[in-house]
């Protein structure tokens, strides 16, 4: 341990690594040094001067955040000299800071307020006029009171270093300096809300939370984010049984200190007018609010009736991928208990042809933190920046350290780090590009690729680009191939998966998945797939996949937190199937008119923050949480509803008293499962026909689930895409719509008129029409043939 330096802080001897700053050494040893601009996750600015400390033999106090330790250094953080310096800085900082704490949202959790208590004077000596700064518009998520700003520049550094966008800056000089965006463009980062946590004063505060509460009135409960496979840790702040706001809970292995805006603001969708408060049953054409007993009797009798007359194979259950592990488990136990294997959570998936060869559950192939250490990566049909923002954050960190990350996508996505190579191609040409990369890899390594893909490789045309991507992967010691959320929704998933496996094998890379939703891993583990039961055990005869259940119109359908017009791969087919079904049970926190149209029973289940359970994140981490607040009105946690429904059917093994009991049962069943992402390479069985125009049913960041879709602040932000058609100029020319502003889109017998945008970022012969948004909910499959005409 010779490389450690001996220093002394306040008389305590410490050994620290060279290069450590005094403030880090002090923080580790538990000495509190006041600071504003220093933040452990940001670069050092040393502009607030609050952390001045006294160092022996130094003529003047030095900033602890920007002073590296040296051998024999003696630091005094509480000496007369240090305290005098800190008090003087405090006086300067307070010169222009308004005394508006009583009306400031930061009051009670303000670093300036806290530190002023320790280092400020009781009265100001400043008699002149304080500066006043105009408010800025930073979008629907962040409120500004720029007069309160003390110019620590944490928000500016966050934008540059973490969010990868330079949205905020500090124009002006001295007294006239102010934090601004250029020409007041709204902040458009998917991580923008973090500047609120970073701001040490009340200059940047949460707009939805504004003037609604004081931090000391709130109690905080920990929870897990229900929107993406990262499993970000949350602090849900609650007052009088209401969720007031959501903040990040630090977890270095997962979300560090950050949170995506989607996770931070989705709580605003919890209390909308369409929250379902009471079970409802349809009698004739009228809906009646009933008690649970009546509703569950009605639901179980209806399902029994269908099973009795058409057989159990006519019962199907669809769940969204954000259900808890316990809910998935009980739902599949119920459906299988009734004699059917028709259960699925892969609502947006179109290609199930190789599901038998899929890994036990979609795993990242490495830990989230390990992504930072990558030296090379290949993204296939992935847009982690908007789909899994904190995965993207890790990839960006790797790229900043020199990792060569490339992508094969259908849209030239706006990525906030430099992609070394980008292939933008038609979804159906993606295999050709992947095969070309695999072909180069086979040449480079001398390994023989599996016979199953020989034809594909032979047909591939190798270009320089493919050579470069292959070389990047082979030259890196730590490399990965990631199959993105979009690839999982494409109709040629099987061939993509096979080629990804080949590329990973040949280049000795890890292989990982970025599945949709918060708990796809939990769904597979629990058995919420038609061909496997809990722990990945194959069933003798696979049930129907999500698509088949709707294609062939199951006679009885159970919808778990699903709005098929927004959540399913093919809304048009889904709606037809639901209309045709004899009996539909919808379990949901929100009720819509569409739902009243097709359902027979609607049961209110508790959404995020009102239920307990477990999410398994993409690295296989089981994270359990309890309800932060009581369920609204008559709504009940999903696991309880399923448990009682099991009793109504007189099924065995539905006697749980808590969600923990359910979890421990799953725990026992899944002991010893090793997350293995590789699958045996198969010859691709299906090659979809290439239509003249293919839809790309991109799911925008704020359209992924029913809670996010109801979060108004998110819906007002720049990332909330509306229904529209986007294609490149070449494609538009071919269709003769180059100069049209509105076009008529027809798919699956449905037509809608949508605005047209010419976007160079879209691949040829494709048109992006977002799924999950109002306006496209009547169309057909997310990746199907469409017809576009000028109006």
């Amino acid at each position: 341990m010779t490389d450690l330096l001996n220093i002394e802080i306040n008389g305590v001897r410490l050994q620290v690594k060279p290069g450590t700053m005094v403030i880090e050494a002090a923080d580790d040893a538990g000495f509190v040094i006041p600071r504003f601009c220093y933040h452990k996750k940001l670069s050092i600015a040393a502009n607030c001067r609050m952390c001045l400390v006294d160092v022996e033999k130094a003529a003047k106090p030095v900033p602890a955040c920007a002073t590296p330790v040296t051998e024999g250094m003696k630091v005094y953080t509480k000496s007369v000299k240090a305290i005098e310096a800190q008090k003087s800085v405090m006086e300067f900082l307070l010169i222009n800071h308004p005394l508006d704490c009583p009306i400031c949202d930061q009051g009670g959790e303000c670093e300036l307020q806290d530190i002023a208590m320790g280092f400020g004077k009781d009265a100001s000596r400043f008699r002149e006029t304080k500066r006043v700064v105009r408010e800025k518009y930073l979008g629907p998520l962040i409120s500004t009171d720029m007069t309160r700003c003390i110019h620590c520049t944490r928000c500016v550094r966050f934008g540059r270093e973490i969010a990868g966008v330079m949205e905020l800056g500090a124009p002006g000089r001295g007294e006239h300096m102010a934090i601004e965006t250029y020409m007041e463009s709204a902040v458009g980062s998917e991580l923008s809300g973090n500047v609120i946590d970073l701001c040490p004063v009340g200059a940047l505060t949460s707009k939805p939370y504004r003037y609604t509460g004081r931090p000391w009135e709130n109690t905080a409960a920990t929870a897990i984010s229900p929107h993406d496979c990262v499993g970000s840790n949350l602090k849900v702040e609650v007052r009088r049984n209401q969720v007031m706001r959501v903040l990040p809970h630090e977890n270095e292995a997962i979300n560090e200190v950050w949170l995506a805006d989607r996770d931070r603001y989705s709580y605003t969708g919890l209390h909308t007018a369409d929250r379902l408060q009471q079970p409802m049953i349809k009698q004739g054409e009228t809906w009646r609010e009933v008690d649970w007993e009546t509703a569950l009797t009605y639901a179980s009798e209806g399902m029994r009736r269908v099973i009795a007359s058409h057989g159990a194979a006519q019962l199907g259950a669809l769940s969204n991928p954000n259900a808890t592990l316990e809910e998935f488990y009980l739902l599949q136990k119920l459906v299988r208990g009734l004699g059917s294997h028709n259960i699925d959570h892969r609502l947006r998936q179109l290609d199930f042809s190789d599901q038998a060869h899929a890994p036990v559950y979609p795993h990242l192939g490495q830990s989230i933190a390990a992504l930072e250490e990558l030296q090379a990566g290949l993204l296939i049909g992935a847009y982690p920046r908007k789909d899994q923002p904190l995965i993207n954050h890790r990839l960006r960190k790797a790229a900043k350290r020199g990792a060569k990350i490339s992508a094969v996508n259908t849209i030239d996505y706006d990525v906030n780090f430099t992609l070394t190579n980008t292939v933008v191609t038609h979804p159906f040409d993606m295999p050709l590009h992947l095969a070309a990369i695999a072909k180069v890899l086979a040449e480079q390594t001398g390994k023989t690729p599996p016979a199953a893909v020989q034809t594909l490789l032979a047909a591939a045309k190798v270009e320089e680009l493919h050579r470069q991507i292959a070389t990047q992967l082979t030259q890196a010691e730590r490399s990965t191939v990631l199959i993105g959320t979009q690839a999982l929704a494409q109709p040629n998933l099987a061939v993509l998966r096979n080629l990804a496996n080949v590329i990973a094998d040949l280049s000795n890379s890890s292989l990982g998945y970025l599945p949709e939703g918060a708990n796809a891993a939990g769904a597979w583990l629990a058995g919420a797939v038609p061909h496997r039961t809990t722990a990945g055990r194959t069933v003798p005869a696979a049930g129907k996949s999500a698509l088949q259940m709707l294609d062939t119109s199951c006679k009885a359908l159970v919808l778990w937190n699903v709005e098929p017009e927004y959540d399913c791969a093919d809304p048009a087919t889904a709606m037809t199937a639901l209309q045709a079904a004899e009996f539909v049970v919808a379990l949901t926190p929100f009720v819509t008119d569409t739902m009243r149209g097709y359902a027979d029973v609607i049961l209110p289940i508790s959404p995020f923050a009102e239920t307990s359970g477990t999410f398994v994140n993409v690295e296989g981490r089981w994270q359990s949480f309890t309800a932060s607040v009581k369920s609204l009105a008559e709504s009940r946690p999903g696991w309880k509803v399923l448990r009682v429904l099991g009793n109504f059917f007189k099924l065995d093994g539905f006697e749980y008293l808590s969600s923990e009991e359910v979890r421990s049962e799953i725990d026992t069943l899944t002991v010893g499962i090793i997350p293995q992402t590789r699958s045996e390479v198969q010859a691709p069985s299906n090659t979809p026909q290439r239509p003249s125009l293919l839809r790309i049913g991109h799911v925008p960041i704020y359209a992924v689930d029913n809670l996010v879709r109801r979060a108004q602040p998110l819906q007002q932000s720049n990332d909330a895409l509306q229904a529209m058609v986007a294609m490149n100029a070449h494609t538009a020319d071919k269709l003769g719509v180059r100069h049209a502003t509105q076009v008529r889109v027809s798919q699956a017998g449905q037509s809608v008129t949508l605005p047209l945008y010419i976007e160079a970022s879209v691949a040829d012969d494709c048109a992006v029409i977002p799924a999950g948004v109002v306006g496209s909910e009547r169309l057909g499959t997310g990746y199907g043939s469409i017809d576009v005409k000028a109006v």
């Binding site: 330079m166 949205e167 800056g169 124009p171 965006t181 250029y182 706006d414 986007a726 160079a760 970022s761």
Partner: protein, 170 residues
Amino acid sequence: MFAQRNKNQTKLDRITAAARAEIDRWIAKYPPERKSSAVMAALRIVQDQNGGHLSHELIEAVAEYLDMETIAVYEVATFYSMYELAPVGKYKICVCTNISCMLCGSDQIVQHLEAKLGIKLGQTRRDGKFTLKEVECLGACVNAPMLQIGNDYYEKLTPASIDKILAGLK
């Protein structure tokens, strides 16, 4: 995905070919990956091209030309007092009021200039001939008080010398 929309419109044509050639001369002085080092020179060049002030279009054009974020160029343009974000008069009179000049009587110099030109600090005369601007230290403290017009310094100022300077400005 569609955030790139605004970036598609190039603003490079706002910079004249001559100005571009001059900026290139500055870019060549720095390593290729440090193009942004030429930002101060580039802003000065396009400001001259534009008759003495910068427009938002020009700031955006410089950002595009040097591969910088617009806000970063804007920060530079607002930090230094030699850049103007609004039209200025034919003669921009920059008076130093920093400590050395103040101790040597810059208050009186400012007063005299204001009375003589009929405008206050920070204003431009209606006829567009003069702009009066307060600036920080220009590094000529030895001969304080001082002012700058165009590329020239005028030092050891007195009301009488100012009258002579102003008379020389046609």
